[in-house]
Amino acid sequence: MAENLSRVLTERFPSGLEVLSDAPGDETVAVGEAVLLDAMTWLKGRPLDYAMLLDLTCLDERPLGRGFTMVYHLLSLSRNHRLRVKVALAADAPAVGSLTGLWKNADWLEREVYDMFGVQFTGHPDLRRILMYEGFEGHPLRKDYPLRKRQPRLKERTPDA
């Protein structure tokens, strides 16, 4: 299965896709940011049928000399298979295409990543903070955000404002 999958993927996307790991249960592919939407659309459809976006998160790898990395976990219910897709992003002003057109939960998940890491999702209909509040400064899961940083006090809001 694993060999088959990497062969299918590299045939379909000769450039912009690289198989990082084909250990059973931990298959990982790296996708170029430019082909992400194409690749995801294709992965979601037949024959691979990754119908569910299981999870979506981000890594701040700037201390390791890289930029940000988006990590998607896809699940195919019909084939009972999980796939991890990674997309490398720039270290400054990271941005990536939004998957809200493909999966409905991408809406909240991408908002969370925007909130926590400051990654911009182009094409997201309503990109704003979700767990943090309006007026929060910075993106807490970035490695350069101190653990015990204090936030400024918010101005008192009147009911009409």
Partner: protein
Amino acid sequence: MPERIAAEARRDSLLLNLGPSHPAMHGIIRVMVELQGEKILNAELEIGYLHRGFEKTCEAKTYFNLLPYTDRLNYVSPLLNNLAYAMAVEKMMGITVPERAQAIRVLMSELSRVSDHLTALGAMAMETGAFTVFLYMMKAREYLWDVIEWTTGARMTTSYIRVGGVRADLEPGTRERVALAVKETRQVLKDVHGLLDGNKIFLDRTRDVGVISREDAVSYGWTGPCLRSTGVYYDVRKARPYLIYDRLDFEVPLGERGDNFDRYFVRMLEMEQSLRIIEQVMAALPAGPARTETGIEPAEAIAGSRRKRELRPVRLSPTLEGSESGRYPGIVAPGASVAVPPKEETYTTMEGLISHFLFFMKGRGLHPPPGEVYASVEGGNGEVGFYIVSDGSDRPYRLHLRAPCFHLTAALEQMVRGALVADIIPTFGSLNMIGGELDR
């Protein structure tokens, strides 16, 4: 602030706010609805009131230290969170857990699952007016939590399932308590079936209310009983069996309509299957090693060990039960850097003290090799997954929780659109939103 709904609202409609502190909002979440009469035109959710920076905190804690934080995610079934985390770290380090510990983990998982479902349905039933059901279910939950307390020493914040195994072996008397809990829970399930299944008030509030299609449920990333209520067969215990689930005989109940009633019914049937699993595990579980009831007092052992090594068994205080070296082979994987060294050795021998320090000193203890891992278990609400990235140090470089109810709650806006105000309550109740897990 619910900005989107305020911007999109029609001029002749009414904006109504539910929460963040509203008794039916199970914790703290805010629902803003746009109403035309009693009909919901639009809805917007605001979450994050219980955000406490779980993932950020974990990056600053060692792999051993952060375990108690996982208790506080889904606080109704903390053992399942412990298990998901422990399994992720074990997968990274390549640790195989002893058979007995696996059986105990399955037992604890299923007890937690039943108590999780009881809490969800009890609250949902109460909000639809069935207060008796709530009381019955809480009664059954007390029997289950009694077993959990008897084994782990705590009702909710257990930290019992550890990397490499479990904290302590089962106490004498567990078997009787489990049997009693199973009997009482069965009786409650029977009573609740009788009270609710054909109850007109309950059916009116739940049947064909809060319907979600199979495609939408998959698209929202639903897992667990809520996904199965739409008829999709996906259960982590069956899809990628962990522990000893592949050797146990149980079924995965499916619904067909994806409405509130199906979510209720799937949970009811699942509890029966969980009770079956509990009985199978208890029947197959061999009696544990005999307890060292007698032993010299710790003070005597410490005093004696100053002159020569103490070889007689030492009686440990109740808070350290299970930490005796005699029990380690059955419940903890072998290996010096996996589990806390046995306590009586720490207190009575120099070598024990050194190995204790080596486990807890900065940069020592659990440190998985560099790499990334995703491991998941079937939690009360669905797939609880931990994605951990290690850089080889003793702290995770990045730890991310795949919280099942984040995905469930994301669908609520769509589910209540077009429904009536009163439908929000049972629909929201049937999703079993848990704030600790949703907001992390």
